[in-house]
Symmetry: C2
Subunit: 454 residues, 2 copies
């Protein structure tokens, strides 16, 4: 059995490792476009900040037992009838036959319609090569200032990273508040954190052009935005790299991502797909969405491999669990926000409260902000957002919500969870549960008021 995998990042490598684990006799070939199998793309900001001095340490792993790697090759086309893939490297092409194929071609940065995007000193950030180019520029030109177009995870992590390197940073965000993956009250708090570290933040700015002014770059945008700096980073999201699959006859859907069933099979026999190039099953939406995340890619790759080897395992679905650290602040979310929940037919209510992360009498207690979204008819938990200090176990607290969402718990039953407590780390009711109680009290009060009005 020859299992051919196109793509050497999370989905592809995860599939290859799992296939080898399940059947050491399976012949596994993995074709990757560059020379960096399974490097941590999420780690690029820390390489560029200087916190991770050696880019080699970004490799999730350096040994790939039982897997034949073909680096620096891209797949040009798939012939699903002959079950063959044409690959190209160093100008040469050759054909590989497969029994089962996995497409894990990932995503590429959205290239916005901004004039001057190709000027020297303007960078995207998605691949190792991108980060090498960026790094060379930092080393050679020693820029003193940067403009970051885009205020999502990469944009804000890079703001942190470049401040860490001593640059003056301006962030131009298209949205009302930065970090649009969380609600605006949290976005506002993240903005305050950035400002307290000297970052200038401009909201509701549509960047229109980048130009040169002597040695400097000038970014012009809506809202009279005009900023000058020594470099510009454009990080406005990604879109699926789905052309290879599409031309082979794989159906595409949201944002052009490849369609797969929950076994990670495409509509083309013996072709599977996983990772940032596919539509993702969402466990709460009970349908597909486009949600490119490394955690999901790993799970999808693992799932695909099990089915390639004759299993019958469904991808359990994403909840959109995400976390980001920006300076000393951690913002996390899981599940649905109000608008998403309403779109999916729920009747969402969101309640925000602030609690101490542990008993206030023990030194170092910090405020932890919790937003819980639940259905006002059924009391079902729909989503949660958390914001707090890096010491406040924000990321693993969101995971308690993620585990609860996985099991479709209602908010009342969060109180039944037997969570750990010691005064330096929590309260007898964990903030997760105090948040649940606040949601219940708030909604029962609203219910009562509605009742009294009628």
């Amino acid at each position: 059995m020859h299992f051919l995998i196109i793509g050497g990042s999370d989905a592809g490598i995860s599939a290859a490792l799992r296939a080898h684990e399940l059947d050491p006799n399976c012949e596994i070939t993995l074709v990757l476009a560059d020379d960096y199998p399974n490097f941590s793309i999420c780690g690029l900001p820390f390489f560029l900040s200087g916190q991770t001095p050696d880019w080699r340490s970004l490799a999730h792993r350096t040994e790939f037992p039982g897997i034949q790697l073909i680096p620096n090759h891209t797949a040009e086309s798939i012939d699903p009838i002959r079950k063959a893939v044409l690959i190209r490297g160093s100008g040469e092409t050759r054909e590989l036959l497969y029994d089962k194929l996995l497409i894990g071609t990932g995503a590429r940065p959205v290239r916005p319609a901004i004039e001057g995007f190709d000027l020297p000193g303007v960078f995207p950030l998605h691949t190792m090569e991108d980060s090498f180019a960026f790094h060379r520029f930092l080393e050679q030109h020693e820029p003193k200032s940067a403009i970051i177009v885009g205020a999502g995870y990469i944009g804000l992590e890079m703001a942190d990273a470049l401040v860490h390197r001593g640059l003056k940073v301006t962030v131009a965000s298209r949205t009302e508040t930065i970090l649009a993956t969380v609600d605006s009250s949290f976005g506002g708090r993240v903005e305050a954190e950035l400002k307290s570290h000297g970052v200038e933040v401009c909201n509701r700015v549509e960047a229109r052009s980048i130009g040169r002014d002597g040695d400097s770059l000038v970014v012009v945008g809506s809202q009279d935005f005009l900023a000058t700096a020594d470099l510009v980073l454009v990080a406005v999201g990604v879109r699926p790299n789905s052309e290879l699959g599409f031309t082979a006859g794989v159906t595409t859907g949201i944002k052009g991502a490849l369609c797969v069933d929950r076994l990670m099979q495409t509509n083309v026999p013996d072709i599977y797909a996983a990772g940032d190039c596919v539509e993702t099953w969402h466990r709460l939406l009970n349908g597909y969405t486009y949600l490119p995340l490394g955690t999901t890619s790993h799970k999808q790759g693992r799932t695909a491999a099990e089915n390639v080897l004759g299993g019958n395992r469904e991808f359990a679905g994403s909840l959109g669990t995400q976390v980001v650290k920006i300076f000393d602040l951690v913002a996390a979310r899981t599940g649905l926000r109000d608008t998403e929940a309403r779109g999916a037919g729920f009747c969402p209510v969101t309640v925000e409260k602030t609690f101490w992360d542990h008993k206030a009498y023990y030194p170092g207690a910090r405020e932890l902000h919790i937003r819980i979204t639940g259905d006002c008819h059924t009391g079902q938990l729909l989503g949660a957002q958390l914001l707090g200090h890096t010491d406040s176990e924000v990321s693993k607290r969101i995971d308690i919500f993620a585990a609860a969402l996985f099991h479709e718990m209602n908010i009342e039953s969060l109180n039944d969870l037997d969570l750990s407590y010691t005064p330096p780390l929590s309260s007898p009711w964990d903030p997760v549960q105090m948040g649940a109680q606040a949601w219940l009290n708030e909604t029962s009060r609203v219910e009562q008021m509605a009742h009294e009005c009628h």
Copy 2:
């Protein structure tokens, strides 16, 4: 409706607050033995260490809306026919009538058969009064050294606390390794942490007598144990304070704890009981045990109140989730350990692995030790233990396991949980999931070996 509550700690106060929340017209009276309603007993070590300078800040709350508190009174007897409780305070007695009664009399320290337990300078630590006596001794006598008999949570937190105050500390542990609530490999690591802070640890020591030698106290025990110090703390666990209920006809069970059903009702009509004085329903054992924990007391009190007010809510059960911080180390557990699981009819296998708490390329990565116990026939998750640095989100990582255990997940499906990831805080597969994968690989290897042998 008069709801009478005996006991002013977690169970009693939690019940009172919930009753008032559900029905502001409910008449609620709470009788407590001292003047410290709902003080955080778990916080006593931090008051004694000096980290929490003002004992008043140990109050979980200071306002009790809708609750009539009767402090400094103890309940002497219950007449369940007349539905009356005789209480005594300042030498006077009086009778209170009830419609529904909750017994929340808690636990008291086990008084071991050690000669000299009553000598000045020898202390238990369970109540506010205990801690005031201890504190006075610290202030007046400025002891330079301490012997702690008992190596459970209180004993070890007090070792930390007294080192924090500058004392030389010796711990005498009866068990093979300290902190017997976790497996011995973890106990050994906690011992190393204590030793690195100058604490002397002696295992397998049965303390036999405490005597005076001039101004010093001398503790003698098995294994030729002989130690001298300026003070002695005896913390060898607690037992239920169940006499009040017992004499009123409430059935008692394990360790003499009051028997309750899952609605927190005793066998005596209109008498409920909750907290450290009752047997606790264990969700995995599917039966009762004695597991006195503040988190559980809160849940049981809340549950009792809902049923007192006409609800029909079952206590969901404990998983024995516990966490303790000792110096820079956090040890946590949830669910069953090998011996407990075997006793309950499971076929447990425990696998221990060590992972980085976050991507090693990001500064500050630390080792996180994970022990997972699962059933080797069904793959069901039975329990988990975690040990790591205070920065490693140990306590909320154990809660992911707790949430999984609550839903009777199998170990394989832990991989389906959509947990959060960013390089400074985790890995694409969280250590929780890497632990699950290690357990699966280990047990499938063992299975294969067994298969090959036959």
